[in-house]
Homo-oligomer: 168 residues x 2
Amino acid sequence: MATSVTNLEIHDIARTCMTFGIGLCYIVTPLAKQREIAAKLVDHWLHGYGAVYNPARGEALKKVRVVSDLDEMVSDIEGDPLVIGTSSKERQEKGISSTELYSLAESGARPVLILFGTGWGLSDEVVNRCERMLVPIKGKGDYNHLSLRVAIGIILDRIFGERGGRDE
Amino acid sequence: MATSVTNLEIHDIARTCMTFGIGLCYIVTPLAKQREIAAKLVDHWLHGYGAVYNPARGEALKKVRVVSDLDEMVSDIEGDPLVIGTSSKERQEKGISSTELYSLAESGARPVLILFGTGWGLSDEVVNRCERMLVPIKGKGDYNHLSLRVAIGIILDRIFGERGGRDE
């Protein structure tokens, strides 16, 4: 399932990643046209008029890379990454809490790659490739339709936020 | 300082509020044109073609109200609301943690109103009217430029999320 990439979305996600000290943010899409749009947007803020208009945005976008699939992303990373999936459904057999994931990331033993899916979420094929699945976000009641960018913010805060269940 | 309201933004915020069981979500803007745009968007998803195309979106937007200022919002709420501000700057003299705010909200003694500012954040005038100010979100380092919709998601999760520092 491929969905579209928008200017607002890339910005929001890049700024969230910067705030929580994430090293790199990959946009993965099999659609060549979407990769082209994403690369143009990043270039505009890094080198085009956007760099003059608002240099702080370019700073966040320096960490964005655009790739066509999971394999390309994994081979771009040095070392053997621990691949973690996210989903609104619980997968108890390989569940991992944000606290446990934080400890693994801080240990530095392996780079950590956290996958987020747009539209209908990560495909079953991708979920099968994930070593562990993060425990889902739950609010009150059954309505759980967070947008991708909001879900990314909440999850990174749960793992890496200064509060993060550790400081309070 | 007034900023603009977009379709994407209202949706994301409404969906986040639904997920965390928030009763009502007010959009406050002094600009009549912006209020008109916001009201049209809500109407489209509640009664127009959007209601047929995607009824789940309408469900979230039922909780959205559009008002012109803080007084209009406060007078719309039954009872004497506890007005809480949010900011990326710490105001220690009236700071409140998410855990303390959760307890106050759950006690049901007073309705709780949490204010978020777009663009340059809440004005000093609004901050002065807030009884308490929520402790800011902090990630790693000094870069803190979260978008409004992402900040709302993180803050509501910190206060009302099932994990929320209480369940883990």
